[in-house]
């Protein structure tokens, strides 16, 4: 399976230049206004990773990889693990850059940075968990529209919640405030696991 993870990283290696440029631009923007741009690298990295599905599909890689030992199972497993690693890596780098900038600007708020970074990681993994079963079922080309709709819906939900934060019953808000450290990771772990299970099930039935 390590081989398949390597394959995906070798595939996106070519885009590293682009990602580095985005990071650098981000650093300069962050001097002015920090937290709003913090989501961008993680979202870009996952969209970048979606391209590996396109490359695979274009060269009918799946059918070829099925002829390897443990082929089918490892194809699904490696996609989930690679994404997790990539998003984790991107969020960590972003966080480190942010911390350095905050120190230079003399406005370091480490708790805020950690929370926002975690929120960023959680929302990207949530998005990925919803997308992957669709991609494995319909292929990346057909899922592309769904991806954009998915991102749009996610942004809409976040917007809706933050706009109507006043009308949510105070009990729910306080419950969330007190236990979010358990609730959010739990939601992420559950969606990620269910998503993996579904994708595997879909993929095992698929023919090429």
């Amino acid at each position: 399976m390590l081989g398949l993870i390597k394959k995906d990283f070798l595939l996106i290696k070519g885009n590293l230049k682009l990602v580095s440029i985005i990071f650098i631009v981000l650093i300069f923007i962050s001097f002015e206004e920090s937290s709003n741009f913090i989501f961008i690298p993680a979202f870009i990295s996952i969209i970048l990773f979606f391209s590996t599905f396109s490359y695979d599909e274009y060269n009918k890689w799946d059918a070829y990889a099925i002829t390897f030992p443990n082929g089918k199972e490892n194809i699904v497993k490696s996609k989930y693990l690679s994404t997790l690693l990539l998003v984790l890596f991107t969020v960590l780098i972003t966080m480190i850059i942010w911390i350095i900038i905050s120190i230079i600007n003399n406005n370091l708020d480490i708790e805020y940075i950690l929370l926002t970074s975690f929120g960023c990681f959680a929302s990207v993994i949530f998005l990925q968990s919803i997308m992957y079963p669709l991609i494995f079922k319909f292929g990346i080309e057909k899922s592309r529209i769904v991806i954009f709709v998915g991102i749009f819906i996610l942004i809409a939900i976040i917007g809706l919640i933050s706009r109507n934060i006043g009308s949510i019953p105070i009990e729910v808000v306080s419950l969330f405030n007190n236990y979010w450290m358990i609730i959010v990771p739990l939601i992420i772990i559950i969606t990620f696991s269910v998503s993996y299970y579904l994708s595997k099930k879909i993929y095992m039935k698929k023919e090429f």
């Binding site: 399976m1 390590l2 081989g3 398949l4 390597k6 394959k7 070798l10 595939l11 070519g14 590996t52 490359y55 695979d56 274009y58 060269n59 009918k60 890689w61 059918a63 070829y64 099925i66 002829t67 390897f68 030992p69 443990n70 082929g71 039935k205 023919e207 090429f208």
Partner: protein, 286 residues
């Protein structure tokens, strides 16, 4: 173990109406088996079934004497494949393939892989995308061989190769089966390739197995009996398999050359090439 692959009652239907099978056949170990047939006859479907890329409707398959589903991962360590237009994403370089495959096959042999690349004059740093069609085929063959497989399954491995490279590649295949544990299943419609190297011929037409025969038996027993238009009725029905009408003559496909030669002394009886055999069996009338 005498057979590398044993197939029993395999069938597979598609929604578009195409049906493969039922097919039962054995692929004997240590030989080169040629799989021939028209485009769309079911060659690739058969190969994909053996590799469990598609699920078969009925039947069972044994590879190296083991059930191909229950022991899939063990079996696949020992299979090398060249599939038609299915390979690594083309942004990868030739050395990337080595890095990846080293973690996939226990027996991956980097040295052997790079030896093949050298032998084939393939540039290591280049991406697959920038290879010519022939170079790409050679890369696929090198990749299939580099983990010391026991069974090579090749779908059109010589298409797109120039004559010189083709003979190079066929030599490699022949060397490969010098080891009696090694077997090659080789699908092609360039039948002249098989003329040189195949030991067995499997012929599929419209999803059905129409011929499964030792190549020497085909060469010794099959032939074409030629006669003028007027002499058609002189050939009795039980002596031929199919016939084809030409402009001034008839061709009869026979499978008992020595006996027929004695019986029809006045007619010309020619040896048959695999290509002629294929055309007669597909296009001929009963």
């Amino acid at each position: 173990m005498i057979n590398a692959v044993e197939i029993k009652n395999l069938s597979k239907s598609y929604n578009n109406g195409f049906k493969l099978g039922e097919i039962s056949l054995n692929i004997p170990k240590g030989l080169i088996i040629g799989l021939i047939g028209e485009n769309g006859a079911g060659k690739t479907t058969l190969i994909k079934s053996i590799l469990n890329i598609i699920k078969i409707d009925t039947g069972n398959i044994k590879i190296f004497d083991k059930d191909y589903i229950n022991y899939e991962n063990i079996i696949k360590e020992d299979i090398g494949v060249v599939l038609d237009n299915m390979f690594f994403p083309e942004l990868l370089t030739l050395s990337d393939i080595d890095k990846i495959m080293g973690d996939i096959f226990k027996n991956w042999d980097s040295k052997l892989y790079f030896d093949f690349l050298n032998k084939f004059n393939l540039p290591i740093k280049r991406t697959i995308k920038n290879l010519s069609k022939g170079m790409r085929k050679k890369l696929e063959i090198a990749t299939a061989l580099a983990h010391h497989p026991k069974l090579l399954i090749l779908d059109e491995p010589t298409s797109g190769l120039d004559p010189i490279t083709r003979s190079e590649v066929l030599d490699i295949f022949q060397n490969f089966v010098q080891d009696e544990e090694h077997t090659i299943l080789f699908s092609t419609h360039i039948t002249s390739d098989l003329e040189h190297i195949a030991d067995y011929i499997i012929f599929i037409d419209q999803g059905k197995l129409v011929l499964n025969e030792n190549k020497d038996t085909i060469v010794d027993n099959y032939g074409i009996l030629k006669c003028d238009i007027d002499d058609f009725n002189k050939v009795s029905r039980e002596d031929y398999l199919v016939y084809k009408k030409n402009k001034y003559s008839y061709d009869f496909l026979i499978n008992n050359k020595s006996k027929i030669k004695k019986k029809y002394r006045d007619f010309v009886i020619d040896n048959i090439s695999l290509e002629e055999l294929m055309i007669l069996m597909i296009k001929g009338d009963k």
